[in-house]
Structures are given as C-alpha cells and as structure tokens.
Amino acid sequence: MNILKFFTAGSVDDGKSTLIGRLLYDTDSILADQLEALQSSNRKNDDGTIDLAILTDGLRAEREQGITIDVAYKYFQTDKRKFIIADTPGHIQYTRNMVTGASTANLAIILIDARNGVVEQTIRHSYLVSLLGIKHIVVCINKMDMVDYSETVFNAITEKYKGLAQQLHLKDVTYIPVSALKGDNIVQSSGNMDWYEGESLLHFLEKVDTDAQDKSQFARMPVQWVIRPQTEELHDYRGYAGRVLSGTFKLNDKVTVLPSGASSTIEKIEFFDQSPAEALAGQSVTIHLKDDVDISRGDTIVNASALPNESKLIEADLCWMDTRALDTSLTYFIQHNSKTTRCKVNEILHKVDINTLEKHTADEFKLNDIGRVIIKTADALAFDLYDDNRTNGSAILIDSRTNLTVGALMFRAAVE
C-alpha cells in the first residue's frame, strides 16, 4: 500500500469543501465525535442535511467567513491506498496557497461547476497544475444534479477543456461527472448517469499509478548532516546523512561530490541497523565513501556519470508569495535542498496573466504574481530542471529582513 498525495483546486462555489467532505464521509473516515460536532453546528445545507464542507474548514476565521483561506491537510485511507489531501482555496488572492498545496501533490483535482463550464479560474488552476508539474489531472465536473445529469453538458465541457489541456501540455487528464452534494460518482458510482461508463472518483484515485512521477533516474543525495560519533571505537566513522531524492545509489557506484567536484566510490550504505546494497529515491540513509573527501551540509552526492547543471545564473519560473513586492536591488536567501546561499533576481523576463495565459513584460513582481526570471546566486547550485526532477529543480526565496518565505522557484534552464 502506498500514499497518494493530491490537491484540490476550485472555489467555494464549486463545492470543493463539499467534495472533500463527501470523500471523507462516504469512506467512513469521519468519527462519531467529529460527526456529532458537525451535526450540532449551526451551518446546514438548505435542505437541512449536514454541511460536509465544515469538515475541512479548520480555523475560526474561516468558519466565520465560510471560506478556506489556507492549506489544510486531510488524511484518509481505504484498503487499497492511503490518501493525503491538500485542500487549498481557489480564489486568485490565494494563488500562493494553491502553489504550496500543489508543490507536494502528484495528482490534481480540478473542479468545474457544470452550470458554468470552463471559466477564468479553471484556466488559472490548470495553469498552476502545469507550472507545478503535476502529471495526473482529474477534472471533476460537479453539480451535475443541477443540470439534470445531462450528458450533453458534460461532453461540451469536456471538449472545451481538452483544448486547454493541449495548450498547457497536460497529458494525463481524466473527466468524471459528479455531484459532491448528492454523492454521485464520488465514492459510489451514480445511478443517475447511466451514460457515464468510467469509474467513480475514489476508485480512480485508488488505482492511478504515480510511480513514474519523477522521471529522472539520476542519483542525487543532498547531504543534510555529517554523522561523526568521535568515540574511541568509532574514531574514524564519517557518515553522510541525507535523503536520496532521485535515482538509486548502489555499493561501489562512482560518485561526484558537488560543488567541490571530488570523486569517490560508495563504500557502504547504512540505514540504522541495516547495511543495504542500495539506496532508492525517497529513502533517508547514511552513505560512506572510500576516499577521505571534505563534505559538509549543503553538498550534493551525485552519480558521477550523470552530473546535474552547475550554475550561478539560472532561468526560473517564480511565484511571489509575500505582501512585500520583489525588490531586484535586494539580496535574498535561496534555499535549495540542504543548501542555502544568497541570491538576487537579476532580470524579470516576463509575467504571466494567469487568467488569460498571456505573457507580458513587467518591472514589478507582487503577491501572487507568476513569471519567468533570471536569478544570480552567490554560490553555484547543483540542480536539475524542474520538469525532469521536481525536488532538485525547485527552491525557495527567503527575505533576509523578515525571514519569510517570499518566493517559489522552478528551475527551467542554466544560463550560459
């Protein structure tokens, strides 16, 4: 059994919280005391049934306003899979929250109101999904009960969306007609739409194969911590602790340490009381090298025959996440895996109007703005391109005055 992390884009009006509530409710993931709190709440649907949306509205301010204003994580499981939902608000002013929720997801659910079809926010959400490199997309056409469960309506929306998917290079798209409010095709297949031959949303989520998400098989491990017990019996012990972010390291593999460029060979791989012959992507291990090379936190151990880019000038997509606008004269911190160095945004190449997908020149970058920039870092970064390797192709910008995370970067090219 593995974990599927997915994120949901959609606005309050599309019934996003209701959809998540429905998934939890129909999979028996809501416990009695939580249900009791739900039933005693003042918020009810018009027909008096319990409002499932409350389940995902965490904070008091949100309950008062009746909207989701942050990223909430929800957990449920079936006998086939474990699920982590990043529930994010859909309105444009919460673009940064959507980017945050999407960054760890390997599947996205895009909600479309059947009465309205593909609208401005559908374009926006789909753009963010493509920007963040989410490979699997489920388009849920919701509120089918409000359009008499009409196949014609469903087909028209599907056709419209296919054009958008093509424009954004979204390849793996699945369309499901649902009513989150009534429970059609969320967990149980609907009896109201005989014309639909596909699976319910849950059944699809249980089966979708996300293992090929990270197509890069090049071995990379950023060193987080050097284990040196310095006791009498372990006097010369020196283990490099980190999480393999892609590929596989095997015993006797030739590796290069960046940024120094030093070469060595893997002598031993340790995982607590075990010494496995290989370390796979996703595993947190400790690696020992044959040669005595100088390695510290922030260095990256990579497969010697497949080196990443190394550059101080990087072209990247930037999403700005702070209320204080980008200042191109200012030096920021950039955090890339375990390495933190200083950087500047040298140039804004363009900004994207995420409602229309039009690119235009700009000299300012404000909260929720997205566009292409060139950054210059103090130390060279050893990185891959985001589309090849999400983890080694992403970084955050930190304002050195406030220490806040102000930008999300997706690396697109090394600038020669």
């Binding site: 965490g58 942050d70 998400q213 999480r243 995982f271 955090q335 992403s394």
Partner: protein, 301 residues
C-alpha cells in the same frame, strides 16, 4: 518523489528522518519535547534512525505537570538510560511555587493549560531555537493547517494567518533572536500509522496504553482515573474498570476508554473499528469548538 518499492510506513519514516536532520542542520540549540506518549516515543525511535551511531544533536525535554501517570515516569527514566541521551525536566510544580501560574480550582481543574508557561520558561532558560514535537495534522482541525516548521514569536504565540508557505520538502528555519520554531516530523502520520509503526518496530510503550484494571470515576460522560490530582467529592463514585488510555496527558485531563486490548494487535483492530477520534478523549478540547486553536495561539504545544 518516487514511491516505488517501499510502503507507506517507509515513506512516512523517511520523511520524518529527513525533517529531523533538517532540524540538526538548521538550528543551534534544538530540543525534542518528550511527553512519554506514543507519539514522542515514536520520535525518539526516528531520531535513533536519523543520527545513530552518533549522539542526538539535541536533548530531550519533559514538561512535568506533576500529575503524571507513574507508569510514564518509570518508562521515561528507563528509556533515557537505554538511549544514553540528555533529559531536561521543566516542572509545572516549580512554576506554581514561584507564583508564575495559579492552580485551577473546581471539579474540572487541570494542569494542562499551566504547562504552557513552564514550557515557554524552559525554552527561554535553555535558549532553545527549535522544539521537536509529536503533533499530527489528523488530530484536530486547527492542527490540519499547521506547518511542519511552525514559527513562534518570543511569547510562544502561533499566528495562523502569518504562517510561512511550505513548499516541496524545503523547510525554512530562519528566525530572529527570541523566536523559535516548533517542528512536527510526524505531521503526515495518522493515529493508525503511529500504531502500525510501533508494531512494526517492536517499540516498547508505557503500560497504561494497554488494558488494565483501574479505579475510575465518570466525569462529563468520560472515564477518568481516580487519583489524588482529581478534585473528587461525594457525588463521584469510584468503580473498578478494565481500561486503557489512547493518549497520555496530565492525569486530570486524560480520559480512559473501556477496553480489553492487552496486545498491540488488539489495539490496532480496536482503533480501526473505533468511532471516537483520539482527541475525543481529551477534555481540554471540548471547552469550545475552537478550543485547540485558542490554546495554540497562546503557545500550547
């Protein structure tokens, strides 16, 4: 992140180890908050996996309400001896004696809220810049939005509106002097995940997690362990019951559940079938719908 070849427990474990090593790498004076409960016991195992054969790059800190289950303290001391790491104890009794906090009165009196002050004092005294805790997002609605690295101001306050975006697996631990970060490596685990992990790793737990006979009284519809720490009166009838505890907090606020589960397998099947959430047995969450959120803003863990 590719997930082939290893299952969800391996994935959760690898993520938690990654987070613990980030704490080691990013902070000067971190600490691991140890309550004696199963979640913090799990953290200790994860720290062993992250740092052995080296020492932990942080001490363990126990905020002692003075109203502990005796079994928890026995367990704690034995464990510290086994792992050979440093333990720092912050005492709520001391905070009371120093007049920094006042003991609650009345039937529902508990030291649960008082421990916030002792915790903040202990953090200040040892100048901890990061405190690792065992909170999970599945526990409660307000926790579902908490970051893995969660910044607290110098008053220990959590501001849900000023949380830093947390992207990919990059954790921003930069802080100003006086601030500190709460770190939750098992944020993405559920109660069942923790139990399955404990079973898989054969981790020893305090005996109160397993069914045993105990004198109890009924309070607000819940079973509480009869103890000198509970303000009891003539209306309270003591009955001997076979119970166990799902969480380990202060004796005056942790309710027992009737259970025959003496083995970990029994507990896992019991939880899988259970219709009451874990924090449903915490009286401190029942005060109002937004109880947890208010306590977190005030610096509660």
């Amino acid at each position: 992140m590719s997930t082939y070849n290893f299952d969800y427990l391996d994935e959760l474990e690898a993520e938690a180890i990654h987070i613990l090593r980030e704490v080691a790498g990013q902070f000067e004076k971190p600490a691991l908050l140890f309550s004696g409960g199963k979640d913090s016991i799990t953290l200790v195992r994860l720290a062993e996996k992250a740092f052995r054969p080296g020492k932990f790059p942080f001490p363990l800190v126990h905020i002692d309400t003075g109203h502990n289950f005796e079994e928890t303290i026995t367990y704690r001391d034995k464990m510290i001896e086994r792992i050979g790491e440093k333990l720092i104890v912050g005492s709520v009794q001391e905070s009371i004696d120093q007049g920094k906090v006042v003991e609650q009165k009345g039937k529902n009196a508990s030291r649960n809220t008082l421990q916030t002050v002792t915790l903040l004092d202990t953090i200040a005294k040892y100048e901890f810049d990061a405190c690792i805790g065992g909170a999970r997002r599945d526990e409660e609605k307000a926790r579902a939005k908490e970051r893995i690295f969660s910044v607290r101001d110098e008053f220990g306050q959590w501001d849900p509106k000023r949380q830093r975006p947390e992207l990919w697996n990059i954790y921003n631990g930069k802080i100003h002097k006086g601030e500190n970060v709460r770190v939750f490596p098992i944020s993405n685990w559920t109660e069942l995940d923790v139990w399955n992990y404990i079973r898989r790793e054969k981790i020893d737990l305090p005996s109160i997690y397993f069914a045993h006979e105990r004198d109890c009284i009924t309070r607000n519809g819940q079973l509480m362990a009869a103890s000198p720490f509970l303000n009891m009166d003539d209306e309270d009838i003591v009955i001997n019951k076979t119970v166990r505890f799902r969480t380990v907090g202060d004796m005056s606020c942790t309710a027992a559940v009737e259970s025959e589960a003496t083995l970990i397998d029994d507990i896992i099947s019991e939880i899988s079938a259970s219709k009451i959430s874990e924090r449903g047995a915490r009286m401190d969450d029942k005060v109002s719908e937004a109880a947890m959120e208010d306590r977190k803003k005030g610096g509660y863990f």
